[in-house]
């Protein structure tokens, strides 16, 4: 699971009003190289909740991202490279995603999050 995916996920347990961002529990992470695409990064940037990406990257052992990010930084190649790496190349392989309100643990196994809810959570 990429951190881009983490950035779009939100706990949808019944009654939870703010299920974003899910906290990362990292047992194993992997880096998978992927082609750099500056246009894609510029397009996706406005959708990204930066703080969530930053915290997730730190949880994955990557401290390269700046504390804050603005659209003007998208012209900076060095920034784009770091953004690219954190967003698309870091993968949570084993671990969990934790609902910020309820503490419910959504397991991630072989890179696949299981976001299915239990009967009493819907």
């Amino acid at each position: 699971m990429r951190l881009l995916t983490h950035n779009m996920l939100s706990s949808n347990i019944k009654g939870v009003t703010n299920g974003f961002p899910l906290q990362l529990e990292v047992e194993k992470m992997v880096v998978k190289e992927v082609a750099f695409n500056g246009d894609f990064l510029k397009n996706i940037f406005p959708k990204i909740e930066w703080k969530a990406l930053l915290d997730a990257a730190v949880a994955m052992g990557c401290g390269d991202l700046p504390e804050n990010a603005e659209a003007t930084m998208l012209d900076n190649e060095e920034f784009l490279r770091k953004f690219h790496h954190a967003l698309l190349q870091l993968h949570l392989e084993e671990g969990a995603l934790i609902c910020p309100e309820t503490g419910r643990r959504f397991p991630v196994s072989k890179g696949i999050p299981n976001m299915l809810l239990h009967e009493d959570e819907v």
Binding site: T5, K47, K110, I112, N114, M115, L116
Partner: protein
């Protein structure tokens, strides 16, 4: 049958939809339709979704019939199912190819992921309730997760486009089908697009043998259980022309009738129409009041729409998966020695003409100049 919806922002903070008419292509034969529409603002949409909190949990929790005759079946047949799923439906391909480069696309109910990565300029995310199918997607390198189309776990408005291909007909109540549609619409931002395809009752090729089992009251009592969706028709009359196309020949996937509906919308009519289509509290009126598109359609309430559709899992495949022995033991599947296969039944709600459009109409403020094809 399919319906594509573009959600775009217009004046007054409303969402409007521009849906280009999808013209049938010869040889394509799948039941597609499309329309232009103005779409409800998200706040209203949310109110519509939650207007009956008492039963919202029953909408979101999976009925037994889907667990037994959809989820467990696909879990059991996943590798075989996947090996037969590679042909792309032309209208889906056309839709995906039309997306702006760098779009983020959700495939809700992605199955074996045959559309994931279809447009190389877009980024795809797939989800399905079947873990075995999702494992197949992941092995192919796709970014996927196990999630329920009726309860999507995404931030609202994140996606540029969302597709639901041959998924809604596996949901066994109207409320759940409506909920899945609204989950899709919620997942895309203003300006985003949604494409939905479902199996249609109306079939062009009437010569195909009917191998589907209509779900009658008899079945619903014996197989389905007390909490199951009400079967629409008490008659066991079988609609002609439901082909068995999914079994062994993927190319036949296209052989479903295609319908086209054109609806045009007009922004200037918004205010008047807001009054027309919603009560004072903003809750949309009952569907019948807002659907102008269906007024000339014949009533279809007596049509048989609930079916069991067989999946023949060849014995050599069944041995590999190992789950079939259990399925046979507990009656979920039966042997067909003649065909040399373990036969699973899958639950289908096949859609009648206009039905899919009708469910989208709670999100639609106004449409006029309707010309049913």
């Amino acid at each position: 049958m399919s319906f594509s919806l573009d959600v775009t922002e217009c004046n007054h903070g409303l969402l409007s939809g521009i849906i280009s008419p999808v013209r049938p292509t010869l040889g394509d034969g799948f039941g597609f339709s499309s329309a232009q529409a103005i779409v409800e603002p998200l706040t209203k949409l949310t109110r519509f979704l939650h207007k009956d909190p008492v039963c919202s949990s029953s909408i979101a929790s999976t009925p037994d019939i889907e667990k037994k005759y959809v989820h467990r079946v696909y879990d059991a047949i996943a590798p075989h199912f996947s090996s037969t799923r590679f042909a792309k439906w032309p209208k889906v391909a056309e839709f995906l190819n039309s997306l702006t480069p760098s779009s983020v696309v959700l495939d809700s109910g992605c199955g074996n992921g045959k559309y994931l990565g279809f447009n190389r300029d877009c980024l795809f995310i797939g989800c399905d309730i079947s873990a075995p199918l999702i494992n197949i997607c992941a092995e192919r390198g796709h970014e996927v997760m196990v999630a329920d189309a009726v309860n999507l776990p995404y931030r609202s408005g994140f996606f540029d486009a969302a597709i639901s291909i041959a998924v809604l007909h596996h949901l066994s109540t109207e409320e759940r089908r409506k909920r899945a549609i609204s989950e899709l619409i919620k997942s895309v931002h203003k300006g985003g697009q949604v494409l939905i395809t479902v199996w249609a009752v109306e079939q062009e090729d009437k010569s195909l043998l009917n191998k589907w089992t209509p779900l009658t009251d008899k079945y619903s009592e014996g197989w389905v259980g007390p909490n199951s969706p009400k079967v629409r028709s008490s008659s066991s009359t079988i609609l002609e022309s439901i082909p068995e196309t999914e079994d062994n020949c993927p190319n036949d996937l296209y052989k479903i009738r295609e319908t086209t509906t054109e609806t045009h919308c007009k922004d200037s009519e918004e205010e008047r129409l807001k009054e027309q289509t919603s009560r004072d509290d903003g809750v949309p009126l009952p569907l019948e009041d807002t659907i102008m598109i269906s007024k000339n359609r014949s009533t279809t309430s007596t049509s048989q729409q609930e079916y069991f559709v067989p999946w023949h899992l060849p014995y050599h495949r069944a041995e590999i998966s190992g789950t079939s022995a259990a399925a046979l033991a507990n009656g979920l599947a039966k042997k067909d020695d003649k065909k040399g296969a373990v036969v699973y039944n899958r639950y289908y709600h096949v859609f009648v003409e206009g039905e899919l459009e009708r469910w989208l109409y709670p999100f639609v403020l106004y449409a006029f100049d309707v010309k049913p094809a």
